[in-house]
């Protein structure tokens, strides 16, 4: 266990507090954008197409970026207070670069009306765009800044861990596969961090390529790049980023859940095989985003389906089984932290399963452009990642006793879970009723029943979002009160029995 001075602990806590407060401010704002979108689809307000797509772009880019950044920051805090000393100077540099990137994106979308979606569907931003060219340029530069920030952060964590644990192979847990005795135990959080961040670094390279290509075209609009190549690069970057967000969260579930169950959760051969397999499959799973692209070689489509199936099995199955063995007959006290983790894992499992269904080529042909797709990613993001993040925030702000007795926090939590899953259900119901996704509204659909069901589900979703916001605000209040008023020494984990 890492020994830190009180001053170092304080500095680390200040760093994570900054991230916590940033999340608690930005997240509800981004939810409100989603609410406005659903109200527009429900024909309760009239945003107009241009504003709808502006909101959709900021909501998508903002949520993906915020959730990854926060899950990475939490991972940073747990690793930096338990396993290796991380450079907080780099931590703050990353934070401020992200802030600059987010401000740039907000400016480009809200004021510049940039509305090409998170995927910046090429060549959309450059062909007959209804927004000014500068907003496209600003969005690209902002995304490059965000990418550089994440890259620096990821490289720093990986480098420091590699130095501490004796190289990359040890970080991947390969020492457990041999017959030799393992000299230094590898905590699962460290292995999962490595397996999450290395694909992140590689995906960032792909992201940088397409962003610089976008920048080139911004300066020279007559340029035309290969659209299929662009789409491959964009989705490799985007899919991997979202995937590793989940894995970062799982890292701290592996680290924190044993403190509540009192059971060890250590690295072993099964865990190493499972996560190393994930490491490989995560790189190729993104092909399932391109099933609709007839020009994509058929072999890659099959590879996408297989990689999606295989990537889901090892980490998911092993982690689910691990969580069950952790909590089964463990006499765990169901405070808000283990509850968040357990229900978050549930959200991850359901969303992941829905994703695997959608990654099946024959199913995707039907579901691809329906509400099923936002349904599945909202399940593992809102019903998974966000709950993991809240679990971590409660862990950070509350003592063990407060976690168990905080009635308001629990009330907010259950309200949030209820609202979130009802909200998600409107997406799935929309999916099975062929309600198209990415439509600003359904007025133009000639099939009247589709129009009516789509608008009705959107109104229902808006009500659910309001419940989510109320739950969120209650939890935020509970966290902020504890976080600001007193200092809780949480950095020392309870030793496993």
């Amino acid at each position: 266990m890492l020994q830190l001075s009180p001053l170092e602990i304080k500095k680390n806590r200040t760093f994570i507090k900054v991230w916590t407060i940033t999340f608690l401010i930005v997240f509800p704002l981004l939810i409100v954008l989603g609410l406005l979108m659903r109200l527009n689809q429900g024909e309760e307000i009239n945003l107009g197409m241009d504003k709808f797509y502006v909101l959709m772009t900021l909501h998508g880019l903002g949520m993906a970026g915020l959730l990854f950044s926060t899950s990475f920051a939490a991972l940073w805090y747990l690793i930096g207070t338990r396993h290796v000393k991380l450079n907080l100077g780099i931590g703050y540099l990353v934070y401020f670069l992200i802030l600059i990137g987010v401000i740039g994106l907000a400016y480009a979308t809200l004021l510049g009306k940039f509305g090409a979606g998170w995927y910046l569907l090429y060549p959309l931003p450059f062909k007959n765009a209804i927004w000014p060219a500068w907003s496209t340029g600003l969005s690209i530069v902002s995304l490059i800044i965000l990418g550089v920030a994440w890259l620096l952060g990821m490289l720093h964590v990986l480098y420091v861990l590699a130095k501490e644990y004796g190289g990359l192979t040890n970080l991947l847990g390969w020492q457990y596969l041999g017959k030799k005795e393992v000299k230094k135990e590898l905590p699962p959080i460290v292995m999962i961090t490595t397996i999450s961040l290395i694909p992140g670094v590689i995906a960032y390279l792909a992201g940088a390529v397409f962003l610089v290509m976008f920048l080139m075209q911004f300066f020279e609009p007559t340029l035309t790049f290969n659209m299929l190549l662009m789409k491959n690069l964009i989705f490799f970057f985007g899919h991997t980023l979202v995937n590793i967000t989940l894995y970062c969260c799982l890292g701290w579930v592996y680290a924190l859940l044993p403190e509540y169950t009192g059971r060890k959760w250590v690295t072993n051969k099964v865990l190493v095989y499972a996560w190393n397999a994930t490491f490989f499959f995560i790189i190729f799973a993104y092909f399932h985003h391109l099933y609709m692209d007839f020009a994509q070689p058929l072999g890659l489509q099959y590879a996408g389906q297989l990689a999606s199936y295989f990537s889901a099995v090892p980490a998911t199955a092993v982690s689910m089984f691990g969580v069950i063995t952790q909590v089964y007959h463990s006499k765990i006290k169901w405070g808000i932290v283990p509850l968040s983790f357990l229900i978050g894992v549930g959200g991850w499992a359901v969303g992941g399963f829905a994703a695997v269904i959608d990654a099946t080529i024959s199913v995707n042909l039907v579901f691809h452009n329906t509400m099923w797709v936002p349904g599945h990613f909202h399940t593992y993001m809102l019903g998974g990642v966000v709950l993991f993040i809240f679990g971590f925030f409660f862990y950070l702000s509350h003592t063990r006793e407060e976690q168990e007795k905080d009635i308001s926090g629990k009330a907010g939590f259950w309200l949030f879970v209820l609202g979130a899953h009802c909200f998600i259900a409107t997406f799935y119901t929309g999916g099975v009723n062929s309600i198209p996704r990415r439509y600003a509204d359904y007025k133009g659909i000639p099939i009247e029943s589709t129009h009516l069901i789509g608008a009705f589900l959107a109104r229902l979703a808006a009500i659910c979002i309001i419940i989510v916001i109320i739950g969120f605000l209650i939890m935020t209040f509970a966290i902020l009160v504890k976080l600001i008023r007193k200092r809780v020494a949480i950095t020392e984990p309870v030793q496993n029995s």
Binding site: L151, L155, K163, G166, L168
Partner: protein, 186 residues
């Protein structure tokens, strides 16, 4: 041999090579785009790197100057890849020599900074340079309009293709440096 003599010989050789590339061979290098962009420019960069390998330790560079210098190097590379810069360099030898001096400085500073900066910034810089070279190559291959009036479209595409391949090698080198950096034990 005394070290002072070695220094004099080294500097003379580097300066001599720079002079040969910049003056007697300038016309030959400016004849085609691949020669200008893929031979003359990298040659000057390489000479700068060689000088850097020998003398970089004499100049201590600490954060945030390392970041500032890397931005300067990046900006220099971008500037000398702009079509207008290339055209002007081919038309005006004096401007071309300015490019040579910049590339020598960039090469020298690259090795000086990369040796002293932290791992994270080193990898981020290498990644961005490889991406930049790759995308420039991709642009030149894709673009069907002549960008530099001093050359022709075939030369432009040939330069693009070779830059594309160079970018891939750079990316492979970045990944190699990244993984070998992680592989080093304490």
């Amino acid at each position: 041999m005394p070290s002072k003599t070695i220094h004099i010989i080294f500097i003379t050789v580097i300066s001599g090579l720079a002079w040969v590339i910049s003056f007697p061979l300038n016309e030959w290098f400016s004849d085609t785009m691949p020669r200008h962009q893929l031979l003359q420019l990298p040659a000057m960069l390489l000479l700068g790197i060689l000088a850097g390998l020998r003398y970089s330790r004499l100049i201590p560079i600490r954060f945030p100057w390392d970041v500032a210098l890397l931005i300067f190097i990046m900006a220099s590379l971008v500037f000398w890849m702009l079509p207008r810069s290339i055209d002007t360099a081919v038309i005006h030898p004096a401007f071309n020599r300015l490019m040579h001096v910049t590339m020598l400085a960039a090469g020298f500073l690259t090795i000086t900074v990369l040796r002293q900066t932290i791992f994270e910034i080193r990898i981020a810089f290498m990644a961005m340079v490889s991406v930049m070279v790759f995308v420039t190559g991709m642009t030149l291959v894709t673009f069907n309009i002549l960008l530099c009036s001093s050359f022709n479209i075939d030369q432009q595409k040939e330069t693009g293709l070779r830059l594309l391949i160079t970018g891939m090698f750079f990316a492979a080198g970045t990944l190699f440096t990244f993984f070998s950096g992680l592989g080093k034990k304490t």
